[in-house]
């Protein structure tokens, strides 16, 4: 039998002026199951709360209903008070008779009747409330960072500097990402590698960071605080422990003419290689697809010549399972290759710009490699076709971006700035060279960004033409660029030596597959989705997984670093306790009636539904049912409304509770 205590608050004059609180208390006392009922001026005050606690003890109350302001205001206050008196806090409910009654209705009789109804509704509901205990989930204080670009590096350093272990997984043989390919960075024209390599070395030397390069995430199991991540360490054919990084193998390799992806295929590398001289780790990789030893069994020079005996042709991929508490995804971006696309591609390509057919039409990253001192031309801007230094370069902005008809409607954010930078670098290297930039808008909002852009026009003589390019074609070794100048209202034709296209920023290849492995959301462009655009920009809806850098959306270096530190702060919030406490408003499956249709799993936004096998005593499978993971479930209840057999229930919002409320009215 319930012994419910009902407490009606006057809230000074806020409720008392309109609602006849004494009458509500008197009516409440008549309700079956109510053992105690009173009204008081300020229930949330200390004396008010003490009244509740006293009543719980003296009247042996089993449940409490406080009729006062909105539960969004004081539910926690009263639940804490009730808990301190020894009653489970989830047996306390609030009836909103202020925001929903006294403040919105003038007629005293109507307001009082409504208040009585609402109190009766909550009294009937609370009878069906269950005792619920806070859920605790243990936390493994090790973080996984996927992606070793600047964002991943920053996140790894921040977390490791706080005293926790970090596992950093990078797909390429070296960390550094796209930032290591750049020559100078806007808006300061810092040498990119000069500011990046110290951080790369910090990562390699950090006692708490485990670096897995030339590796990928194979499988992710578990949930927040308790992930098991399987990492595939691909076979380098070089033993990382033995290799000293001397580099003799690289100089002696007879296969020297393999296009180097790092140099955008302008430079060459051998079959055993490090992607760039400052690679971290400085351990080479054998490209088995192009290595003579693997193609036809001949050669083997590197193994013969290696002093420490680090070459191991028989090395195989290794799978390592890492226990992880939080995951930071920092997989970065890639540029849109704008050549003609296959029929089934979602993008139509820009064949009219000749990319892929005209060798002197290049993209922004290729220009970076040309400008870079450690690049294939030693920092001299040369035409890929004949090695001549171009006297006229045309830069085309917004190639692929802001073009709904070609498939990408967003703005790629970084191109206005890096094109201005390219024009500047070109002017520094080729003093009489002319740079033309075809643009739509100049988007330069960051700190010192607009000044930088203006400098490219005023000091570095870049010629900005507001209009788009319609066509490029070759004529006598030059590239004829046809476009329009909308400010003059004229057609423009420029005879260029080289064309640089600012192509769209897109997520890396395989971003969608990784997202599916992790169970995180992504948008139609494969950028990863944050939990809330404004209030939770570095977390995913899936608990325990955080985002940093360009994998979330086009982003420059300052923002990527800032976001990486933000993600680390979120990870540290998780790691700041040994156990994660969650509100117990979670779903539970009644396994007896569940048939395993998993309609609930299809609608759960948090991927909290797992499979659980029910076995008989001999170990035979009877059925597979759903299981709601209390560590992931956020308590929306969509599963319960969807379940055809109503076998899954949301504690604190069960069908019985709701129907009790409806029937009370």
């Amino acid at each position: 039998m319930s012994r419910i205590g009902v407490f009606i608050c006057h809230c000074g004059e806020n409720i008392g002026r309109t609602v006849d609180c004494e009458r509500v208390a008197a009516e409440a006392a008549k309700l079956p199951g109510v053992a105690f009922s009173l009204d008081y001026k300020y229930m949330c005050s200390d004396p008010g709360q003490n009244l509740v606690k006293k009543a719980i003890k003296e009247e042996r109350l089993s449940h409490v209903v406080v009729a006062a302001c909105s539960p969004r205001m004081h539910e926690n206050t009263f639940r804490k008070a009730v808990a301190s008196a020894g009653l489970n806090p989830f047996l306390c409910e609030m009836a909103n008779i202020r925001e929903h009654v006294s403040w919105v209705h003038e007629d005293r009789e109507e307001a009082t009747v409504k208040a009585i109804d609402i109190v009766r509704m909550m009294v009937e509901r609370v009878k069906k409330n269950r005792v619920l205990e806070t859920i605790t989930v243990p936390v493994t204080k090790r973080a996984l960072v996927i992606g070793g670009g600047i964002a991943g590096i920053q996140a790894a350093l921040d977390i490791a500097d706080c005293g926790h272990e970090v596992v950093l997984v990078e797909r390429e043989p070296s960390i550094g990402g796209h930032m290591s390919q750049l020559s100078e960075t806007f808006p300061t024209l810092d040498c990119s590698q000069c500011i990046l390599t110290p951080k790369m070395v910090d990562v390699a030397n950090h006692p708490r960071i485990t670096l897995h390069t030339y590796s990928e995430v194979e499988l992710v199991e578990g949930y927040i605080g308790n992930f098991q991540v399987t990492v595939r360490k691909k076979a380098r054919s070089v033993d990382e422990e033995k290799c000293t990084g001397c580099g003799i193998c690289i100089t002696k390799c007879p296969q020297k003419k393999i296009p180097n992806k790092f140099d955008m295929n302008l430079g060459m590398r051998p079959a055993i290689y490090v992607p760039f001289p400052q690679a971290v780790p400085n351990t080479p990789v054998i490209d088995r697809a192009h290595c003579t030893k693997f193609i036809n069994g001949k050669c083997g020079v590197c193994q013969k010549i290696c002093g420490p005996g680090a070459i191991d042709y028989a090395q195989e991929d290794r799978l390592i399972v890492e226990p992880i508490g939080a995951i930071v995804v920092a997989t970065g971006f890639d540029l849109y290759t704008i050549d003609r696309k296959p029929k089934d591609s979602p993008y139509s390509g820009y064949g009219e710009f000749g990319y892929g057919t005209i060798p002197d039409v290049i993209d922004g990253m290729t220009f970076e490699r040309l400008a870079s001192a450690s690049g294939p031309t030693g920092g001299v801007i040369r035409r890929p076709s004949d090695g001549e230094i171009p006297q006229k370069i045309v830069f085309i902005q917004c190639v692929g971006s802001r073009a709904r008809d070609k498939g990408i409607s967003y703005c790629s954010k970084i191109c206005c700035m890096y094109t201005a930078k390219h024009a500047m670098l070109y002017h520094h290297k080729v003093h009489d060279g002319k740079a033309y930039v075809f643009y739509m808008d100049a988007r330069t909002p960051g700190k010192n960004f607009d000044e930088f852009w203006r400098r490219s026009i005023e000091e570095e003589q870049a010629i900005y033409i507001r209009g788009m390019v319609s066509r490029l074609y070759e004529r006598d070794g030059k590239i004829i660029v046809k476009g329009s100048d909308t400010q003059l209202g004229e057609q423009v034709e420029i005879e260029a030596d080289m064309v640089v296209t600012a192509t769209a920023v897109m997520p890396q290849e395989g971003a969608d597959l990784l997202a599916q492995k992790l169970g995180i959301s992504y948008d139609k462009y494969n950028f990863y989705s944050e939990a809330h655009a404004k209030l939770r920009p570095v977390e995913c809806a899936t608990a325990g997984i955080y985002l940093a850098g360009a994998c979330h959306g086009p982003k420059d270096i300052p923002e990527s670093v800032a976001q990486a530190s933000a993600a680390s702060a979120k990870v540290m919030t998780l790691f700041s306790r040994d156990k994660l406490e969650r509100e117990p408003i979670v779903a539970r499956v009644r396994e007896a009636t569940c048939v395993g249709c998993f309609a609930c799993r299809n609608v759960c936004p948090y991927r909290a539904i797992e499979e659980r096998e029910i076995l008989d005593r001999e170990g035979n499978l009877v059925k597979t049912v759903a299981y709601a993971n209390p560590g992931l479930c956020s308590g929306c209840g969509t599963c319960q409304a969807t379940c055809p057999s109503k076998s899954i229930e949301l504690d604190a919002y069960t069908d019985q509770q709701i129907i009790a409320m409806i029937e009370a009215l």
Partner: protein
């Protein structure tokens, strides 16, 4: 809002099923802003409109509600990401069912009210209340119950005799 209550005989009973994060907060805002509206509505709080089972709406009508309001976050803004999309789909189908059953669809209202839209809450509630008031009480379930062989009455002479005999 318009005429005095004393002139009206029929006061519609409106039940509102709302989500905590948007509509309930919007209703709270209407209260904080001291906006006035008819007192016929009784609000039931859910974590998300995705939790709302059509059975609750049926139950509400059975219990004598003359009008039912279901309100949640705007599409795309659901606190639990997709609950309101499932609710929308569920109720698109449910509307047809309830129409087939003979309930006038003007008694059932779905709306999106965000936590900042106190004014919209007032509008929605007032409009529904006045519309249902003009339509009169909901008789369909009561009429149906009367048609059945057992009227549902538990204090008939026959039953009383049986009870006494136990």
């Amino acid at each position: 809002m318009h005429a005095e209550k004393g002139n009206r005989e029929f006061e519609p009973k409106i039940m509102a099923f709302v989500c905590t994060w948007c509509t309930y907060a919007g209703a709270d805002l209407a209260g904080t802003s001291r906006m006035q509206y008819p007192s016929n509505v009784r609000v039931l709080k859910f974590p998300c409109t995705g939790r709302i089972d059509p059975v609750f709406i049926l139950k509400a009508f059975q219990q004598g509600a003359d009008g039912v309001l279901v309100s949640g976050c705007h599409p795309g803004d659901c606190h639990y990401i997709s609950g309101n999309f499932h609710a929308r789909r569920r109720f698109a189908v449910f509307r047809r069912l309830i129409d087939f059953m003979g309930v006038d669809l003007n008694r059932l209202q779905f709306s999106w009210v965000s936590a900042a839209e106190g004014g919209k809450w007032v509008e929605v509630v007032t409009e529904l209340t006045e519309r249902v008031r003009a339509m009169g009480p909901m008789r369909e379930f009561k009429d149906l119950a009367l048609e059945e062989h057992w009227s549902g009455a538990v204090d008939t002479k026959e039953l009383k005799e049986v009870y006494q005999a136990i």
